[in-house]
């Protein structure tokens, strides 16, 4: 089967989307962009192909009416991938212990590291049996990192192998581990996953078929900040403006205005009935009000990025935040907290400040037409969405606001559709 690939090398995350010949999404992959764009593109693409093969499998199994077993197989597959990565991380950390830890503490440190990794593996294995495992980050560094930190806290010895020592080891080793190329593909792990999941006799033929299904990328288009790094000819590179415009059009064909708030930029885009961009504006000179701004605020408040929105939503009296300079906002935040103002009210104000900046760009790009589609990582934040709904209604009246749960893939989706259009032309 020939397919079409779009890759969006963003400043924070790298996304890949695989389309089939009919333009249906076969698979999607996401990873953190790290400092290595080439590898991030590889990982995201591999992940997208893994999910494409699972999709093929799903289609086959749906026909054979046995899809209940698939969830377990997918979890087993993820577990196999995770175990490979944990193995590499552990090996690297143990080397680091030998290299960098004081001789009299080495043994104790090695033991603690082994203990942590034993528990990590056990926790991962427990997820296999949980049909609805707790949500966590898509990225190895975050998923493994938060569990590692928790376990390190539990077993650290303040007079010997301290928490700081253990965390220091993780921080030193995660970057090289993350930047080593690794085979995480379908064929590498599906065999073991089948064995581990057990009792999969009825899906085995379909798995075989999915693993061997020819999945040829007949065209690939790249976009995003790192696009110049992609080893593609110029005609296979599209700006993220065009890709977001087309991606939003594919998700919601009635789209005329698109707002995308990503890690380091905010884009206001107008598109015509075919998803072709007619006008756009982006933040210049300053990236305050973008995703990283919220990330910084989350760090300042010692919260996870995903906790920020829900907390802000509970604010009853949003506080007016005068500055949207990221660094100054941190200062303002501390000032407000010291004045005894509520965290949720301050956060509600910050979210409104982010959206106010976006409103100014939208106005510059030509306003908000119906329908209005909101994309990018920040579209996942419920407080940002609420602030946007309020400000759109105040400034432009009733507008249909579209937000897709998969909006983070909008750029990659648009790129994949450009690849498909190019190949069909």
């Amino acid at each position: 089967m020939s397919c079409f690939v779009g890759i969006d090398l963003g400043s924070t995350t790298t996304k890949a989307v695989v389309l089939d010949e009919n333009g249906e999404i076969l698979g999607r992959g996401i990873t953190n962009s790290r400092s290595n764009y080439d590898l991030a593109a590889d990982v995201a693409r591999t992940e997208a192909f893994v999910s494409a093969r699972f999709r093929i499998l799903e289609r086959a199994v749906e026909r054979a009416a046995g899809s209940a077993a698939l969830g377990r197989l997918l979890r087993a597959f993820r577990l196999e991938q995770m175990l490979v990565q944990l193995g590499r991380l552990q090996a690297r950390i143990e080397e680091e212990v030998e290299r960098a830890v004081r001789p009299d503490r080495r043994r104790a440190a090695s033991e603690k590291v082994r203990e942590i990794f034993q528990s990590l593996r056990a926790e991962e294995e427990r997820r296999l049996d949980d049909p609805d495992p707790p949500a966590r980050s898509d990225f190895f560094r975050d998923a493994a990192g938060s569990a590692y930190a928790r376990l390190a806290q539990e077993i650290a010895d303040p007079t010997g192998v301290t928490f700081d020592l253990l965390i220091g080891l993780y921080d030193t080793c995660i970057v090289p581990v993350e930047n080593e190329p690794i085979e995480l593909g379908f064929r590498e792990h599906i065999g073991k996953a089948l064995v581990r999941a057990g009792g999969q006799a009825q899906v085995r033929p379909s798995v075989e078929a999915a693993a061997t299904a020819g999945l040829e990328a007949s065209a690939t288009v790249g976009t995003g900040y790192g696009r110049a790094r992609l080893p593609f000819p110029k005609e296979q590179i599209r700006s993220e403006i065009l890709c977001h415009g087309l991606g939003a059009h594919v998700l919601f064909p009635g789209t005329r205005t698109v707002l995308d708030i990503g890690g380091q930029d905010t884009k206001a885009i107008q598109v015509d009935a075919r998803g072709i961009v007619t006008s756009f504006q982006m933040n210049d000179r300053c990236a305050a009000g973008c995703g990283r701004y919220l990330g910084y605020i989350a760090d300042e408040m010692n919260l996870g990025l995903h906790e920020l929105g829900p907390l802000a939503l509970s604010g009853r009296r949003p506080i007016r935040i005068s500055s949207t300079c990221t660094v100054f906002a941190g200062a303002e935040l501390r000032e407000r907290l010291s004045l005894g103002q509520k965290r949720e009210d301050i956060l509600a104000g910050l979210h409104r400040a982010v959206i106010l900046r976006a409103m100014s760009l939208l106005a510059r790009s030509g306003g908000i037409e119906d329908e209005f589609t909101f994309t990018g990582g920040v579209a996942r934040n419920p407080a940002a969405v609420r602030a946007l709904e309020e400000l759109v209604a105040e400034n432009y009246g009733p507008r249909r606001i579209n937000i897709s749960g998969d909006s983070i893939y909008t750029g990659a989706l648009g790129a994949a559709h450009f690849a498909r259009r190019g190949a069909m032309a």
């Binding site: 700006s239 756009f280 210049d284």
Partner: protein, 424 residues
């Protein structure tokens, strides 16, 4: 660009500029009087009629920036107390004068005998000369040119400007230079201006051809150099514009495009109109971003800041003071927003542009105020899509190459998608 890729006219201009700066350096010995003045509304013919040499501080600033010297000058001015938000031309000039007043080509600039401010819409120019007056303790003269709020000059405004020239400027110039006003000499200068203007307009309008033999923004910066600075009304100016016109006409006859930092641009995929001054600190890198996309600029408003000639105005020797009044009133910076919109609209249509771009400059409010309105209005009237990018004149801190390139790439791809979509 290597020397080999430069046009003959560029080399000629380089020689002219070098000679001018050398003459300025020698002025204290040769006792040639020196008058500082600004490009918009400059009265070079009148200054030259007194045998005086003009110095144009903003030209020095931009020339310094093109030679990579502006950042140190700006830092010096900021150290002396000028805010980060002050016009970067001003700071570059102030920094240069505190560093020994060494001009962009390495020669020393003479002190002014007079500061002549022809006020044509830029308030900062006035504050700038206040600073220079403090520094040099020299006389200042102020020509008040009424802003063209209604889009045209009234007869009263015209005679008001001419009367100031006659009653204030000329006596001040006589005193500062120690020479008598010679109207015949002024008329001769004005006749030479008109000849050069005729050739300049032919050069700028050659961009109506496809492919265009010139780049009417990046290239035009060179073309307008002599006429906007010290050479209007001079024999060298006339010779330069004659040579330039011949060069461009030859190129047009061969069907060739202009030389650019990315090589000769014969294949021209996009024809653009540009509003706003360029960035000078990364002038070639900025130009390259266009040339590499095979985009040629066919008309720009910046190439009219020192005089708008393409709608028919020529200096008229038969009415020397009246014609100077007309010239000052018609400067681009002295025009209101509707006239600027109209001008851009005409350019987009007459030069068959695929798009138009606003380069907004952080430190120039005169230019930047209202540019978003201009963008929307020109888009509405012409149906041609506009783009908006921002950097600065001579302050390199505000030139973010990655972001500008990203915007421009997106813009060209948008034009491409629209062109493909419309089936043309």
């Amino acid at each position: 660009m290597s020397e080999a890729e430069k046009d003959r006219s560029m080399l000629l201009q380089k020689e002219m500029l070098a000679a001018h700066y050398e003459r300025l350096e020698a002025a204290p010995e040769t006792r040639e009087p020196v008058v500082y003045t600004f490009v918009p509304g400059n009265l070079t013919e009148l200054i030259r009629a007194f045998g005086a040499l003009p110095v144009l501080p903003e030209i020095n600033a931009l020339q310094s920036a093109m030679r990579g010297k502006s950042q140190a000058y700006i830092a010096a001015a900021e150290k002396a107390g000028h805010s980060e938000d002050v016009c970067s031309y001003v700071k570059c000039d102030i920094g240069m004068s505190t560093a020994g007043n060494v001009g962009p080509t390495g020669t020393r600039l003479p002190k002014p005998d007079l500061l002549l401010l022809s006020y044509t819409g830029c308030y900062t120019f006035m504050k700038w000369f206040e600073l220079l007056r403090e520094q040099y303790g020299c006389p200042t003269v102020f020509l008040q040119v009424p802003y063209q709020a209604d889009g045209s000059q009234t007869p009263v405004q015209r005679s008001y400007v001419a009367r100031q020239i006659r009653e204030t400027l000329i006596p001040t110039l006589e005193k500062a230079t120690g020479r008598r006003y010679d109207e015949e000499r002024l008329r001769e200068n004005l006749a030479r201006s008109a000849a050069a203007e005729e050739d300049l307009v032919a050069v700028l309008q050659s961009a109506k051809k496809m492919p265009s033999p010139i780049d009417a923004y990046f290239g035009a910066v060179y073309y307008v150099g002599p006429i906007f600075s010290a050479f209007r009304g001079t024999a060298e100016g006339v010779a330069y514009y004659r040579a330039l016109r011949e060069e461009v006409e030859e190129r047009a006859a061969r069907g060739e495009g202009p030389a650019t930092p990315a090589g000769r641009l014969d294949r021209q995929k996009w024809r653009l109109v540009v509003e706003g001054p360029p960035n000078w600190t990364h002038f070639r890198d900025f130009w390259r971003m266009f040339a590499e996309e095979e985009a040629v600029v066919v008309a720009s408003t910046y190439s009219k800041v020192g005089g708008t000639y393409d709608f028919g105005f020529r200096h008229d020797p038969s009415d020397p003071l009246g014609t100077l009044a007309d010239y000052c009133s018609g400067c681009y910076t002295n025009r209101n927003l509707p006239s600027r919109v109209e001008m851009l609209e005409r350019y987009v249509e007459e030069y068959r542009a695929d798009g138009f771009l606003i380069h907004s400059v952080k430190s120039c409010n005169s230019f930047s105020a209202g540019q978003l309105t201009i963008l929307r209005e020109v888009e509405r009237r012409t149906g041609v899509p506009g783009a908006f990018i921002e950097s600065d004149l001579v302050d390199a801190r505000y030139f973010s190459a990655a972001n500008l390139k990203n915007r421009l790439e997106s813009y060209f791809q948008m034009l491409e998608a629209r062109r493909a979509g419309s089936g043309t």
